[in-house]
Amino acid sequence: MKRLPTFLAATALLAAPALADETTGLTDDAITIGVMGPFSGNASSYSKAEIGLMAFYDMINEAGGVHGRKLVAVQEDTGCDTAKGLAAAKKLIFQDEVFMLQGNSCSGVAVALRPEIEEAGLPWIVAHAVSDTISDPVAANIFHGVPTGNANGRAMAEFVLSRPDTKKVAIIEHSNDWAHSYSNPAQAYLKEHGVEPTEVLTMERGQTDATAQVLKMRADRPDFIIAALYEAETAIFLRDLKKYGLGDIPVMGTAGTDLENTLKRVGDLETVKNYYVIHPYVDNLDGPGMQKWADMIHKYYPDEELTNFSYIAIGSGVALVKALEAAGPDLTRSKLIAELDKISDLDTGVLSAPITWTADDHQGVKGSAVSGFVDGKPTVLKAWGQPY
């Protein structure tokens, strides 16, 4: 800063207090929380996660809030675009002056935001985006409240290998950061266990046909297929797989899809019965363990269609409330960060794995279950053939 003209330095000082303030965005009866998500654009189906999170805030508020303070969400759209996302983050931090941030669905945006938010120093709980580089290396104020791509990818590969005699694994993916965040760690895990993927195929967003991909697979019939594809493409791929007589090969999907909605789209159990997905929850989406969360969302957002994205951010909300309670009525940003660091083995009642944050490791959720159809019903599984 030395060589800058003095008035420049002066403006920097003017802006500075907002950063340092420990109680910005805090009043006696409210904690303002910036909730960023892709509420518009072609990834807007992800913003269901933020809707679920805000429903959770509403529920906490209806029960009186935390130490008499309501959780007030300030919603900002990122459009899943880095420039827009940066503007949103800066707006929340410096103009709306929120106390903390929670949310973010798109990995690319979150990765681009990291330096900015790390510097600003306010607590940020990443509640949907999976890329490991958001929280690794560790930043004091950035917490990952969902299983990361690495955890998910390895869980996928682990499940694939838990099936006896799995030798040949093929991979089909979108060529974007989202798909790679799953498939790269999955491939790494496979290689560690001596399994080299027989094929890595591409199916881009918007493709309406997977014939070429499926015929390539038919040539050397893999034992298992890992599919890092979005909702529509997953359905198209599964359909084509069945159509060309490969319907009996099991397919392992990401947390970007779920069994119930994939079945609804495809419309026929026979096509999806060998489809498995990463399932980060304690129960099936329509199981009793998840019912109360579904009811909660519908209470505050009656028209919301529920998918597996809807619940993913709630676990980090539970952790936040626990840390806020522990931080006591004299809340500061540092106190909250210190309490988040103490969250250990927290059963959130929604995520299948507990949340543990320590000062050295902010990737709080280390594992995911898998869900698959057993006797035609979605069932949470620990490993091949083993119910959770």
Partner: protein
């Protein structure tokens, strides 16, 4: 494998052909390329969806109503938004069509944005196996519908009075005006026809591709590629270009690399440019200066 690829390439290509043809119909008569066409394809599918799922209509009447509605939208677009800026620079038409598409997509997203919707399938018959080759109802239905439609279209163009009128306008707009043809109305009808044909494409693909607001975006580019391939502005060329593109995608994907499927269209556009700018079946595409 070759047979199978050819079959699915033909089925995809049939849709591309339809989209390319509908683009060309508008282009030939108005010299405007509709950059919002992909979203008209998407809109046609959404209208059919609302009729089938929302109002419980059977597929066929729903499809017919949707196509007619899209015809109406095309005519309205021409009348309300293209006519007033006629005489302006071409960039105006390009932007107007982009803006229309953008608005339609925005509306679709606001109403259905965060879901991927399944369109009920029409010909959900058991696949037929011919040796190693699988025939599905969707593929057969798509190819047959497009073939019949194209047959009717070209027969009308060649054998009827309307067709002769169309040919006349294509030849010389001024001449057509002199013999008393209402060229403005002809333009409106071309936009309507383009929108309607595009909607048919959307309705045919939706049961396979599912419905989402970005459905049309990729079809626009494929339509462009087919159009370029067939010689910019040739009706028959657009259809052939579409089929060639559909096949090329499948072959490139299966025999070279699946990562190529998505850019086959772009590669073909550049290739045509480098090798034969007039396209395969070229009318003269090059502007003399």
């Amino acid at each position: 494998m070759l047979m199978q690829l050819t079959l699915s390439g033909a089925s995809q290509g049939a849709i591309y052909a339809l989209v390319a043809l509908s683009l060309t119909v508008v282009y030939r008569s108005t010299t405007v390329v509709n950059f919002g066409h992909g979203d008209l394809v998407m809109s046609g599918a959404f209208v059919a969806y609302v009729l089938v799922v929302g109002l419980g209509l059977a597929f066929l009447p729903a499809a017919v109503i949707a196509v007619v509605a899209m015809f109406g939208l095309g005519v309205c677009f021409s009348r309300g938004l293209i006519r007033p800026i006629r005489g302006g620079p071409h960039i105006g038409f390009a932007l107007m069509s982009i803006a229309l598409g953008y608005t339609l997509r925005g509306i679709a997203r606001t109403v259905w944005g965060r879901e991927v919707l399944p369109m009920p399938r029409v010909f959900d018959i058991e696949p037929i196996f011919l040796g190693d080759v699988v025939l599905t109802g969707d593929a057969l239905f798509t190819i047959a519908t497009v073939a019949v439609l194209l047959g009717l279209f070209f027969a009308m163009l060649t054998f009827t009075d309307i067709g002769k009128m169309v040919q006349a306008v294509y030849q010389s707009e001024r001449g057509a005006r002199l013999v008393g043809i209402n060229v403005s109305r002809f333009h409106d009808l071309s936009w309507g026809t383009g929108a309607a044909l595009g909607a048919v494409g959307g309705i045919l693909i939706a049961p396979v591709s599912f419905l989402h607001p970005d459905l049309g975006a990729s079809f626009l580019i494929k339509g462009f590629a087919a159009m370029t391939l067939g010689g910019f502005g040739s009706l028959g060329g657009a259809v052939l270009g579409g089929v060639v593109l559909g096949l090329a995608e499948q072959y490139a994907g299966a025999y070279i690399d699946t990562a190529l499927i998505d850019i086959t269209a772009y590669l073909l556009i550049i290739l045509v440019l480098l090798v034969r700018p007039r396209g395969l079946f070229g009318r003269k595409a090059v502007v003399k200066v």
